[in-house]
């Protein structure tokens, strides 16, 4: 191992401190005995217990997960379809316009997306609730999915699809049995991205949520305005743990897959 110079050590420390000190403080205080957030009064897990008895938070968490799951799934289907047409459809009339329009919501300020959706729902007389949040999240998550999937499709060897057609597949069968399994990792990361985006969205959700359904970010935001409670710290710690586990698992799995593939290839070359 190489020793780092004092300059590198300092910049590393500062960088990571900048990123993680706030979260560390939050985690530490979630185990605080005291009701006062800033005064340490000994270790306790009571706020976790309180949290799991708080119906409002649990409801909001349920709504959030449901919304994230449904909207991520719809967004993945639509986004994959859009990506496929953009990459494989050839040069049909209006292609540039369409592909520009798919990516536009990526750079659109969320406030505007939220407001325009709110106006739309009012105009067509749709009651705000889980359905409207799902629709709103699908709308903006779809373009992220389509970006992820189309970047995979661009590097995809077209002749593999042609081979499937050549061997008797209809175009749909070729997509289902060849293209989809090969691009599956991109589709799955698209889904995960959509799921995460939906989980932590506050702006668009607060425009499209109604009194019947509140998502967790909205709930947290509104309770913080009444004062930070240790319960919020506990909830945030749980969220951090979930996200960290997910990210670490994903990176380990993909690292192992790459290592295994390299090993296979070396074995194939050696055995040839």
């Amino acid at each position: 191992m190489r020793r780092l110079s004092w300059f590198n050590v300092t910049s590393l420390t500062l960088g990571f401190a900048f990123l993680y000190v706030p979260m560390l403080i939050l985690i530490v205080y979630s185990f605080n005995e005291s009701k006062l957030v800033t005064v340490w009064a000994g270790f306790s897990t009571k706020w976790y217990g309180e949290l799991f008895r708080n119906e409002a938070f649990l409801d909001a968490a349920g709504v959030t997960l449901r919304v994230a799951f449904i909207s991520a799934t719809i967004a993945t289907v639509l986004g994959t379809m859009a990506a496929y047409v953009m990459v494989r459809g050839g040069r049909f009339f209006g292609r540039t316009l369409f592909s520009g329009m798919i990516y536009a919501p990526l750079v659109m300020p969320e406030v505007i997306t939220g407001l325009s959706l709110l106006l739309l729902f009012i105009a067509i007389g749709l009651d705000r609730g889980v359905l409207t949040i799902v629709l709103a999240h699908t709308t903006f998550a779809m373009c992220y999915v389509s970006v992820v999937v189309s970047s995979r499709l661009v590097t995809f060897d077209r002749s593999v699809e042609e081979a499937a057609l050549d061997l008797g597949c209809t175009p749909f069968d070729a997509f289902r049995s060849v293209t989809l399994p090969i691009i599956a990792p991109a589709v799955i990361s698209g889904w995960l991205l959509a799921f995460t985006l939906s989980l932590d969205d506050l702006v668009i959700a607060s425009f499209t949520a109604g009194p019947s359904a509140t998502t967790l970010p909205i709930k947290i935001f509104s309770s913080v305005r009444l004062g930070v409670s240790p319960e919020i710290n506990a909830l945030s710690t749980i969220l951090i743990a979930i996200v960290a586990t997910g990210v670490i698992t994903a990176s380990l799995v993909s690292k192992r897959a790459i290592a295994r593939q390299r090993q296979d290839q070396r074995a194939a070359v050696a055995g040839a």
């Binding site: 042609e162 081979a163 061997l167 194939a268």
Partner: protein, 376 residues
């Protein structure tokens, strides 16, 4: 059994033979670019047909139209007498082996080969037998359970071949099938391909830019340039009797001398340089006196000697360059007037005594049958 002399396989010379594929005035344009220009061509059953040409000559487009991935802008393609225009790729009795092999990375070798069979009318019970048979044909039995990334490049090539042959297509298309293999493996595989073609009796159409490969495997070669067929013939015919300077130059090594023709007993005398005796050549062409022409001479047809020999054509020159290839040497000789001529000599003698070296004055000679006269 009919007895008598064994039949030479040459259905293209038989006016009664029914072609498997007919191109009738086929043109393909991409925007302003004409990739394939009014092609008429017949390919017969059991042929090993090579489409040969430099990249961009339209050979791949021609093949992709057979597979159904491109549709002709004009003209018709007939398979077994039926127009293919309305038949999508998945319903054609044509299979293709792709240059990149296009194996399905998520399926095992076995499932790759079974892929087409599962989508055909073949009963499930017969599929396993057919796949095993194909694995045996390409000698990949022990690798059936491997994924494509777990086998070597040569093995992948054979999986691609087995997959394309599994459905017993009437026609197999091979798009630069050996381009990704190293030279030695490519040579072995060429013979393997010919062997498999003979065993299965399938009609093969191969696209290649490698003239040596086309000469080795094909029963007939079509030389293409700029979307047109320049010459369609057997390898010996193309080599010995090219019909244009381009074909002569594209296939093998050749010296092309420009001159003017003058009728002569049994052929023509070609005047090629001021103050030099004309070169005589036999030719079926009819040229008028004084007409401009090319004379194509293969290096191996030219004899090299240090003393003046007796022959139809004898010229003297200076050795400028020698390419020593082990079994033979190629001499680049400058003739009077600056014309360069290539000559080849087998290195049958071991001693260095008679060796010809740079700067030597030598005699080059060839008979009137050995050169080819081409009009321009």
């Amino acid at each position: 059994m009919t007895g008598g002399a064994p039949q030479v396989f040459a259905p293209w010379d038989d006016p009664k033979a029914k072609p498997l594929i007919e191109f009738r005035g086929v043109t393909k344009r991409f925007g302003d670019f004409t990739a394939v220009d009014a092609i008429d061509l017949n390919i017969y059953p059991r042929e090993f047909f090579a489409l040969l040409g430099p990249s961009g000559c339209g050979k791949t487009t021609l093949m992709r139209m057979l597979a159904g991935f491109e549709t002709p802008t004009e003209g018709h393609i007939l398979l077994d007498g039926k127009d293919l225009a309305a038949v999508p790729p998945n319903r054609r009795a044509v299979n293709m082996m792709f240059q990149s092999y296009a194996l399905f990375p998520h399926l095992t070798v076995y499932d790759n080969i079974a892929f087409g069979l599962k989508r055909s009318d073949m009963p499930k019970s017969e599929i396993d037998g057919r796949v095993t048979e194909m694995l045996k044909l390409v000698q990949l039995g022990p690798f059936a359970k491997r994924k494509p990334h777990q086998i070597s490049g040569g093995q992948r090539q054979r999986v691609a071949l087995a997959r394309a042959l599994a459905k017993a297509p009437k026609l197999l298309l091979l798009d630069e099938p050996l381009a990704a293999l190293d030279k030695k493996l490519r040579h072995d595989t060429q013979f393997e391909l010919m062997d498999i073609q003979e065993k299965t009796g399938t009609t093969f159409v191969i696209v290649t830019h490698d003239q040596e490969e086309a000469m080795t495997v094909a029963s007939r070669i079509a030389v293409m340039k700029d979307g047109r067929l320049l010459q369609v013939s057997t390898p010996p015919q193309i080599y010995e009797n090219p019909n244009s300077a381009y074909v002569a130059d594209f296939i093998g090594d050749v010296t092309i001398i420009n001159g003017t023709a003058e009728p002569h007993p049994d052929g023509y005398a070609v005047h090629w340089a001021e103050g030099q005796a004309p070169l005589v050549v036999r030719s079926p062409l009819t040229l008028s006196s004084g007409q401009a022409c090319h004379l194509a001479i293969r290096p191996e047809k030219v004899d090299v000697s240090k003393t003046r020999p007796e022959d139809d054509n004898v010229v003297k020159g200076e050795v400028i360059d020698i390419a020593y290839l082990g079994n033979l040497s190629t001499f680049h000789v400058r003739l009077p007037g600056g014309q360069m001529l290539k000559a080849q000599k087998f290195n049958t003698e071991h001693s260095a005594r008679k060796e010809i070296t740079w700067g030597d004055e030598i005699w080059l000679s060839w008979s009137d049958e050995c050169a080819v006269l081409l009009d321009r």
